[in-house]
Symmetry: C2
Subunit: 254 residues, 2 copies
């Protein structure tokens, strides 16, 4: 233990520096620059960002891993995207807004954005683990980064960061809106091509706080393969179709 | 339509007043006072709060209903509670924090808090619908109220409001922590009393981004009744036990 302490003493002391001084520490200079470019502002609490970039597989054991920050960032990102959509679509229902939000913050979408932002290069993880390379840990890094910005700079600066560096450059709302309509079409296309019959069937209608909830199932060749719930039948069948697409592994096909 | 407009002309004009002037409008004076007591500050944009209090069953059709604000408030509340727990428990894992958060923001808990805050009296809804009276629409009002405070006063004031008026008076974290441990005990108690055998069985072990996910099932008299997923077996079996309790309707018993 004393050995470990003395070995890391320099780095422990370095952690106490205010963010802007990191540009003078040789070992950290490059990361400082990369962070500056990524964030668009100078990091205040530098070690927060180091934690945000550290996957649990990282070999640098003196760093905490980013899972707690990921939890925090996930909640903050949900609020910021929620607020953004609320203002962007003043005449849309809460069902529409909820669906759009889940399209934006879904794992795959966030992972793609993270890679485009260059977080694959900056994430500290076990690079010999080829499974991790193709998994979605970079989306988690992005969430952790949002958590770090929030702790470092507060909500309003985080909102600006998310708008300027995530939403505006990477989120194509028109495309996401049209995605909604295409799950059923895509599944019908697959069914036609493969000589299957496809039907959507109303399975259940419940009351919840005075609102009706519909459960619609996707039925392929007479067999129920999955179902979706929503406040109207159209959305419920879209959700069922989306699930079927995931289940059948059609996500990447046309 | 012109009749409707002239009928509501007075109220339409009233909507344009700054919040503090509402104390001089006889019809609104009581609501203004109630809101002041509830929020702990003078409402800025009064009509936002009127919308937040309006359930879709409300007969006052010229008011929007609170569902969009509920969507927004739900996201903001998630972020604020997420932040609160992150700071409160610096040494707990993200799994623990996520679980605690979902215990706090679950529908039933929010509804109980809303009723204690007096939102049953303030919510504008169809009071002849006896189903609504016992349903959980007041928790939705509380979320919508958080959304209204956020739009009216911004994130930091909303955080103060949530801390002072929701978390401190109504959320007993110690009790919620102990709830976690009691699902399995409760279910074992029920099984003993009713001469049933209860076992928890590991059903599946998957890898997700390098973390193991365990699926544990609750098995009563040899029959699998439900299952839970988590990053460790203990949490997974607790989740399974909780689901079983809901399923068997034991929630209200000792």
């Amino acid at each position: 233990m004393p050995l470990l302490f003395s070995k890391n003493l320099f780095l422990d002391c370095v952690k106490l520096l205010p963010g802007f001084l990191y540009r003078f520490v040789t070992r950290k200079r490059q990361l400082y620059k990369d962070l500056y470019n990524l964030l668009g502002f100078a990091p205040g609490n530098f070690s927060l960002y180091e934690v945000a970039l550290s996957h649990r597989s990282s070999k640098e054991k003196f760093l905490e891993s980013n899972e707690r920050l990921e939890y925090l960032g996930d909640a903050i990102l949900g609020a910021i995207i929620g607020d953004y959509l609320f203002r962007k679509y003043p005449y849309k229902t809460e069902g529409y807004l909820t669906e759009m939000r889940s399209k934006i913050v879904n794992r795959q979408q966030l992972n793609e954005i993270a890679i485009k932002m260059g977080l694959r290069k900056l994430t500290i993880y076990d690079k010999y683990n080829s499974f991790l390379k193709i998994s979605q840990i970079f989306g988690n890094t992005l969430e952790a980064l949002v958590g770090a910005v929030y702790l470092d700079k507060g909500y309003n600066r985080t909102k600006q960061f998310v708008y300027k560096r995530i939403i505006i450059p990477y989120i194509d709302l028109e495309m996401l809106e049209s995605v909604e309509m295409n799950h059923k079409n895509k599944l019908y296309g697959w069914a036609n091509k493969n000589g299957k019959t496809l039907e959507f069937e109303l399975l259940e209608e419940q009351m919840d706080n005075g609102r009706r909830i519909f459960t619609v199932g996707a039925v392929v060749d007479g067999e129920l393969i999955c179902s979706g719930k929503a406040f109207n039948k159209k959305d419920a069948s879209q959700i069922a179709a989306q699930q079927a697409i995931d289940l059948l592994g059609l996500g990447e096909d046309k």
